[in-house]
C-alpha cells in the first residue's frame, strides 16, 4: 500500500492505495467521484477519460500511484460550483449529444482536451480525435455537432444523416 496525494478538480486529496489500484478505481471508490465511467476492460471505450496535468488519459489504464503528486480533472469539475454547465456540457444538452449518457463524461473530457489543442476543429478533426471514445447510442453525429457548437462554429453546415 502507498499513500498518494492528488489534486482532483483543484482540491488536494489524499488516499492509501494498492499498487494495482487504477486511477478510475481511486476516483470512483476512493473519492466517490462516480462521474468517471468504466465501460470496458480493454482500454478501448474512453468512458473513463480524465485529464492528468491537463492531458487526456484513460483513467482505467493508469495506476493511482502514477498520479501521485499530479493534478487530475474529472467531469465533476467541469460545471461551475452553482451547477451551471460549461460550454461543452451545455452544447451536448442543446444538440442532443447524449442518450443513455454512459459515454458522455469521457466524450466531454476528450472534447475539452481537443478544444484546448485546437479551438476551432473541423468536423473531420473532431471525428478523428474521438476515435478512442465509443458511443453505442447516438451514432456520433450529434456529439460532433455539439462540439462544433461549443467551439462557436456553425452547425447548420453538417447535414443530418
Amino acid at each position: 500500500m502507498s499513500e498518494v496525494r492528488i489534486v482532483v478538480n483543484g482540491v488536494e486529496r489524499f488516499g492509501v492505495v494498492e499498487g494495482r489500484t487504477l486511477l478510475s478505481g481511486f476516483l470512483r471508490d476512493g473519492l466517490g467521484l462516480t462521474g468517471t465511467h468504466v465501460g470496458c476492460d480493454t482500454s478501448q471505450c474512453g468512458a473513463c477519460v480524465v485529464h492528468v496535468d491537463g492531458q487526456a488519459v484513460k483513467s482505467c489504464t493508469m495506476f493511482a500511484v502514477e498520479a501521485d503528486g499530479r493534478s487530475v480533472d474529472t467531469i465533476e469539475g467541469q460545471a461551475a460550483p452553482d451547477g451551471t454547465l460549461n460550454a461543452i456540457q451545455q452544447a451536448f444538452q442543446d444538440h442532443h449529444g447524449l442518450q443513455c449518457g454512459f459515454c458522455t463524461p469521457g466524450m466531454v473530457m476528450s472534447a475539452a482536451a481537443l478544444l484546448k489543442e485546437n479551438p476551432t476543429p473541423g468536423e473531420a478533426e473532431i471525428r478523428e480525435y474521438l476515435e478512442g471514445n465509443l458511443c453505442r447510442c447516438t451514432g456520433y453525429h450529434n456529439i460532433v455537432k455539439a462540439i462544433l457548437a461549443a467551439s462557436g462554429q456553425d452547425v447548420a453546415a453538417i447535414a443530418a444523416e
Binding site: G19, T61, E66, E131
Partner: protein, 262 residues
C-alpha cells in the same frame, strides 16, 4: 489483477536494479500491459515504472539521426519529430487514439513487438539502432518473431536511433475496431537503397520484403512490383482477414507508399 507493488525509480541504473527482483516487470505507458494484467495474463510481483526517468524522454535530431528516448510517449514523437522525420511523426500520431498516445511509449511498443504494432516497421525500415540499458542492437537483429525480441530479461529500451531517410512513408490499413494495423508498410529510401518493412501481416512478426527492395533499387516506381507477390502461407489469418487478403494488402500498401514518396 493479481496484487503487486509499483516502484518509481528516477534513473535507468535504479530501474535496472529494481528489475533484478524475481518476477519484476517494466511498466512503460501501461497501454498494453495494464489490459494484459486485467485479464490476469501476467502476474508480476512488482512493476517498475519508467515514467519518472528523465534521461529516457525526449526527441533530438543531430546529423541526420533522430534519437527518441525509450520512455517518450507517441504524442510527443508526433509533435517533436515532425520537422526532422515527418513519416515517423505521422506514424506516431496515428497510433490508437489521443489518450493512448499521451501514455503509450516507443520503448513499450518495441519491447512488446506486437505483430500488428506500427513502430517495429519504422525501426526495421529505417535501419534503426535499439539502445538498451546494456548494449546497442541493430533493428535487423532485434525483431525475432511475434512478441519476441533480442531483449534479455530486465533489459530496458532506453532510446532508439533512427537514421533519417531521403524520403519515407508509412501506409497503414487500419483494423477499424482495434485501430492497430491490419497491414502496415513502412518504406524508407536512402542513398544506399530502399528498405521496405511490413507489419500486421506475418505470423513471424515484422519483416523486410527483400524482393520488393531489390526491384525498387533497380527502378523506383510502383510498376516495379508487377509480378512480385508475397506467398500467403506465413500470413496471419483471423476474422478480420484471410492469409490471401493480407498478402494482397502488402502489395497494395507498398505501392501506395511508393506513390506517396514519389
Amino acid at each position: 489483477m493479481y496484487s503487486f507493488e509499483v516502484d518509481k525509480p528516477g534513473s535507468v541504473e535504479a530501474a535496472v536494479a529494481a528489475l533484478q527482483i524475481e518476477e519484476a516487470m517494466a511498466l512503460g505507458g501501461g497501454q498494453t500491459l495494464i489490459p494484459t494484467l486485467k485479464q490476469r495474463l501476467a502476474s508480476p510481483s512488482r512493476l517498475v515504472s519508467l515514467a519518472g526517468i528523465a534521461e529516457m524522454k525526449g526527441v533530438s535530431a543531430v546529423d541526420g539521426v533522430v534519437t527518441i528516448g525509450g520512455g517518450t510517449p507517441h504524442a510527443t514523437v508526433a509533435r517533436e519529430a515532425a520537422g526532422a522525420y515527418p513519416a515517423l511523426a505521422a506514424l506516431a500520431g496515428n497510433i490508437g487514439d489521443p489518450a493512448v498516445r499521451n501514455r503509450g511509449t516507443i520503448g513499450g511498443s518495441l519491447a512488446n513487438n506486437d505483430p500488428a504494432a506500427c513502430y517495429p516497421s519504422a525501426a526495421l525500415a529505417s535501419g534503426a539502432t535499439i539502445v538498451t540499458s546494456s548494449r546497442e542492437i541493430a533493428a535487423d537483429d532485434y525483431f525475432q518473431g511475434m512478441f519476441t525480441t533480442a531483449l534479455h530479461e530486465g533489459e530496458i529500451v532506453t532510446a532508439v536511433r533512427f537514421p533519417v531517410p531521403q524520403a519515407a512513408s508509412y501506409q497503414k490499413f487500419e483494423q477499424p475496431a482495434s485501430r492497430f494495423a491490419l497491414v502496415g508498410v513502412f518504406l524508407a529510401r536512402f542513398a544506399e537503397g530502399v528498405r521496405v518493412a511490413v507489419t500486421g501481416a506475418s505470423e513471424d512478426g515484422v519483416f523486410r520484403w527483400s524482393e520488393a527492395e531489390e526491384a525498387l533499387n533497380k527502378e523506383f516506381r510502383a510498376d516495379a512490383l508487377t509480378g512480385l507477390a508475397i506467398a500467403p502461407e506465413n500470413m496471419i489469418a483471423d476474422l478480420h482477414g484471410t492469409k490471401e487478403y493480407r498478402a494482397h494488402l502488402v502489395s497494395v500498401m507498398t505501392k501506395r507508399a511508393i506513390r506517396a514518396v514519389g
